[in-house]
Every structure is written in C-alpha cells, then in structure tokens.
C-alpha cells in the first residue's frame, strides 16, 4: 500500500478535521492518478472531496489541483499521474473570488 499526501487549503480544513495535510492510501504498484487519489478521498473525507469535484467527477471550475508545482489542467487533468513522493496540492483559483 502506498500513500499520497494531499495539502488542504485553509478554507477547507474544517472538512479535514482541522488538518493541513491528509494522507491517502493508494494501492501499491503503479503510481496513482489524481482521480484515484480523489476517489480515495471521497471515501475517507466526502465533505472535503465534493468541494474539489462535483458528483459527475469533474474538477470544480474555480479549484486548482497541483501535482508538485504543476497545475493538472496543464497536464493530463485528473488523469495526471502522481510520481512517487509528490504531493497533491489543492488551492482556490483567483478566478473564483
């Protein structure tokens, strides 16, 4: 079993038990995709996950997700693979406010 760390923005920490970091378990073997990590997050922290994706699985318009320093919208979106050791960082987009 591997693990990916999700960095939670301040506005969402109340849905992460007040924590800045949520560690998500992922299957051992191939590096997981962003979708796979968010699927796990949906099981462990559903109120957090639904603020990142809607119920169709789409990333919310004004939420940005980074793998390391790269915005997944500039990569393979939710299919982006997370390399070993990289963090998943969730941030509100400036376009939303």
């Amino acid at each position: 079993m591997g693990q990916v760390t999700v960095r939670v923005p301040g506005a969402l920490r109340e849905f992460a038990g007040g924590d800045r970091l949520v560690v998500v378990d992922v299957p051992a073997g191939e590096p997981p995709s962003v979708s796979a990590v968010l699927d796990q997050l949906s099981d462990s922290h559903p109120a957090l996950e639904r603020r990142i994706r809607d119920e169709t699985g789409a990333l919310r318009e004004h939420v940005n997700v980074f793998v390391g320093s790269n915005n997944v919208r500039d990569l393979e979106r939710l299919a982006t693979v997370i390399p070993a050791g990289a963090e998943l960082i969730v941030l509100p987009a400036v376009s939303g406010g």
Binding site: A11, T56, G96
Partner: protein
Amino acid sequence: MTNYLLAIGTRKGLFTATSQDRKTWSIERAPLASDEVYAVGIDTRRATPRLLASSFSNHWGPSVAHSDDLGKSWQEPEQAPVRYPDWTGSALKRVWQLQPGRDGEPEVVWAGTEPGALFRSEDGGVSFELVDGLWNHPQRAKWSPGGGGLCLHTVLPHPTDTQRMTVAVSTGGVYQTTDGGTSWAPSNRGIRADFRPGDEPEFGQCVHKVAMHPDAPDQLFAQNHGGVYRSDDGGRQWASIAEGLPSDFGFPMVAHPHRPGSVYVFPLIGDFDRRPADERARIYRTEDAGASWQALSSGLPQEGFHPAVLRDAMCSDGGTPAGIYFGTRSGAVFASADEGESWYELARYLPDVLSVRAAVLD
C-alpha cells in the same frame, strides 16, 4: 411571549433577526461560510424549529445545512445533502428553494434545484433524493435557463392532497403532478411568452414565482417575466391580473397568510430596466384576487430608490396581523408589522439580499 424570527440569506452569508415585538430586532450573522444563500427555510412543524439554508460557493460548490438552535450552530451531513444520481450525468449547481412539506408529513422537505429538478427529503431536510418523474419529463430537455440559471424555484405542495403539487421552473413554466410526482404536466395555458415568436407555448414560459393560500389551493397567483396571472382552477387556465400595477414585470409573489385572494408583489419597470418605477419603493397588494391593487409605501423610501427585490426576498411571518418583509439588492431589509400598511427599515448595509423567510415562534 411571542418571538419572531427572520432568516436573511445574502450574497455573503446568512443573518438571523429576532424580535418579541416586531419593532426592535436583534440581528446576528450566522456562523456559516460567506457564501451565497439562495434559499432559506424555517420548519416550524418540529418540536424545535429547524432552520435550513442552501449555500453556494463559487470555489467549493453548493450545499445545504440545517440548524436546530435557531441559527447558532449548523450541521451539514458527511455525504452530500443534495446529489444528482449518476445516471443523470448532471451535477448540482444551486439549491433555489427549501420548502417544508405538508403538516401531516413532518419529516418531508422539498428542494428546488439548478439545473431544474425537484428533490425530496424524508429526514427533515438533512438529505434529499431526486424526484425521478419530473427529471424524466420529455419536455425538460427543452427547458432553457433564465438569467439566473435553469432553476426550479417554487415548490407548492397541495395542503391536503398528498398526490398533488405545483412547481415552477425558469424557464420551463409551471408543472403539476396529481399522482405524487410520478408524472407531471405543464400548466401554463393563458400565460404569454413575449420572448419567443409564435403562438402561446404549452411550456417554456418564464415564471418567476407562484403563490398559493392553503385554504384556497385551487387559486394560484404567478409573477412572470412579463405578466401577472391568477388561476381559479388549480392551474389549468390562467388570466392576467396585471391591470392596476405600474408594471407586469417583477420577481416575488407572496400570499397573505390568513386571507385567500390577497397577495403582494414588487413591480419593476421591465426586463431591460430592473428598477422600481418612479424610483420609489412600493409594495403592491391586492385584496380581491387581482381585480384591484393598492400601493403600500408608508415608511418606505419615496425618492432615489433603485434596487430590485429578488424572487425569494419577500415573505410573510404568518403572524396576526401579518408581518411582511422584503430585502433589497442593496442590502436593506424593510419590515411591516401591520400587513404592509406601514414600513420601517429593519436592517441596512447587509450584502445584497437573496432570500428571506420569517416565522412566529411561540
């Protein structure tokens, strides 16, 4: 001692106001996020009144929360309270209406949503399920969004017949069921749609709000996007009652809580100038089901008044005499403790007001 509660949903969070005399009010900001509160509900059927509030964050999306201590603390379930089933391929944008059900069904609460759908809760508004029958209506695919979005904004359960209900969608029109929500039919005959060519359509009218008094459930009143109407046969046929109003455009339509045939509206100049006529704040009330209208403005601003009143930003408290309240897009709330005869400013400098609901709490 009588206690009055007013819930005020704004563009930036929820406020509650409480009073024992409807003269002086204590206003508090609810401990919710600074999100858009399009719908509020006060469910007085419970031993402890429950407040319901929908929220929409531009970043984090929509949700519904409830409070059982008059707004001091709020709960949201771990799982999404309103969720479109996977088979719909759709996602919730906003909840536009939170309507407690019939007295005989104390755990039932209805939600009207965007994209246009109806949801039912059987746990007092904590979690909701899609009403498939309306979603599967073949005409739904031809509904189109109004300026605010494709919203189901009005839910009127028949007060005694559990099989009957009226809903309204902008822009789809009025729809009704007589079999508990399994099947639905459009109910717009007599309502014009100036924004499209051709004959009067079966559906697609831009209804802004519908009101009904529970003692006269076959008499319905509608404020449309151009047009004010009444039906005396439960919605089968509508007729204009706009004569006597300065304009037939507006958003809210509120029924007097005790007198069938008495409703309140807030006319705006028109579609392309959504300000009150003559730059004055005036509520219009009919006491004869729309045969005549009376302007009510004592105590309201009489010059230089420009803000509109949105569809759910006017309500009654159900008291005796009836208290009437409306909030403006400029963040003011005006109140009348005498059925609209005289008014005073209850709050100012709030964020723009999206929704208000009031109740008498014994």
